[in-house]
């Protein structure tokens, strides 16, 4: 697993970690039941504070991607299809949001945008 962290983006480091681990789980790179590195080992290897990796893991657990077993560690949660779908839906929504922003800035109407979307979808 690769975790590429930017120090200078506005994006909090714990969010970057959470997002990237989620992506690994969704893509199958991390498989169901697989153990994640301990949050302390992760902090050491990324040269960051434990409180940051702790937050990342807590958010992953909150969103249903991992299960924290006290005394044992952190494991990838069983594949929950609805969860995966919801996550993908969120990602698409974010991309569409950007498209809408730029369309508005370029005075492209909703109608035009809709047409573009239909054409692209049919490809």
């Amino acid at each position: 697993m690769n975790l590429i962290i930017s120090n200078s983006s506005g994006h909090p480091i714990y969010e970057q970690i959470t997002d990237q681990i989620k992506a690994c789980i969704l893509s199958g790179e991390l498989s169901e039941g697989q153990a994640l590195p301990s949050m302390r080992a992760l902090a050491r290897d990324l040269h960051i504070s434990v409180i940051t990796t702790k937050r990342a893991y807590e958010d992953l657990e909150r969103d249903g991607f991992v299960v924290v077993v006290a005394g044992k560690g952190c494991f990838v949660a069983p594949r929950n299809l609805e969860l995966m779908r919801e996550e993908k839906r969120k990602q698409v929504e974010q991309i569409l949001e950007k498209a809408v922003e730029q369309a508005k800035a370029a005075s492209i109407s909703l109608e035009e945008l809709g047409e573009m979307l239909s054409l692209l979808y049919e490809d």
């Binding site: 506005g10 909090p12 302390r40 902090a43 050491r44 040269h47 960051i48 504070s49 434990v50 409180i51």
Partner: protein, 284 residues
């Protein structure tokens, strides 16, 4: 809690340490920041029992007061290397063996190798970086559960500092041991500290989870009138300049929602300190 400082109060002739309180949990690193003379070193000396407070208490390892047994489990690094300057590192090992009941000679020798600290060389001929690494090697070779470090990396180059920071993360990786480190290297603390405590003129101005601070606060920049109009409950301090002003904002999410058009920069500890400590800054 590994360390609990409760309302430490001490009146000096020219200075007052005013009800200092903060807590350091197990397996955590707390960065203590503040101007020189703010009271950081004094607080640390009181924690170690090297000075007595007028009132308040210090709890270490879950009980009040510091016993001899506790001291054996606390590793200390203060600025001056407190060792005889004509010693070799091997002599130092023998001296420490006589002082610390839990002295781990093997661990010490491993650190000497790891830090490339040569034997048969008098301490007075060591560079500043080497002296610092030696102090840390000693502090970490007697099974300490708590490290109390006063400016352990000042004057050191970035390469050595990175090495030492990794060492800190390694030290706390068992989840039981903790580090209290006072430092001006705020960039380092931003990366590896779990908690930040700011001491200013003898008082704790804030003591917070590092991520909540760095990502929860922010620095807003705009012209004076715009910032003056911001809800004062969001503003900790405002600093005016000839070409614009900046404000220390304590709730990034709320600020971005209510004032989306005002530039809000990520917090950095240096700027935060200047805004909270500098005299000509208006604090709310």
């Amino acid at each position: 809690m590994v360390l609990q400082v409760k309302e430490i109060h001490k009146q000096y002739p020219q200075f007052l340490l005013d009800k200092i309180s903060f807590e350091l949990p197990e397996g955590a690193i707390m960065g203590l920041i503040g101007e020189n003379g703010a009271g950081k070193s004094t607080t640390m000396r009181i924690i170690l029992g090297m000075a007595q407070a007028d009132s308040g208490s210090v709890s270490i390892f879950g009980h009040e007061g510091v016993t001899e047994q506790d001291r054996a489990q606390i590793g200390v690094v203060f600025d001056e290397l407190p060792f005889n300057q004509t010693l070799f590192v091997s002599h130092l090992g023998k001296v420490m063996q006589g002082i610390y009941p839990n002295w781990d000679q093997q661990a010490y020798e491993e650190y000497l190798v790891r830090f490339r600290l040569p034997d048969k060389k008098e301490l007075k001929d060591f560079s500043r970086g080497m002296k610092m690494k030696l102090s840390l090697a000693v502090a970490m070779s007697h099974h300490a559960r708590l490290l109390i470090l006063d400016e352990p990396t000042s004057g050191l180059d970035p390469v050595v500092r990175a090495e030492i920071l990794d060492l800190f993360l390694e030290f706390i990786s068992d989840g039981k041991r903790s580090i209290l480190v006072s430092s001006h290297m705020t960039g380092d603390l931003e990366r590896i500290a779990d908690y930040i405590t700011l001491i200013h003129q003898g008082r704790v101005m804030l003591s917070k989870n590092k991520d909540e601070l760095i990502y929860g606060y922010g620095i807003a920049r705009a012209d004076r009138q715009t910032l003056a109009a911001v809800d004062s409950s969001l503003v900790e301090a405002i600093q005016d300049g000839p070409y614009g002003s900046q404000a220390l904002i304590n709730d990034r999410v709320r600020f971005e929602r209510e004032y989306p058009d005002i530039l809000l920069d990520r917090l950095n500890l240096d700027e935060m300190m200047v805004m909270l400590c500098r005299n000509e800054v208006h604090r709310q």
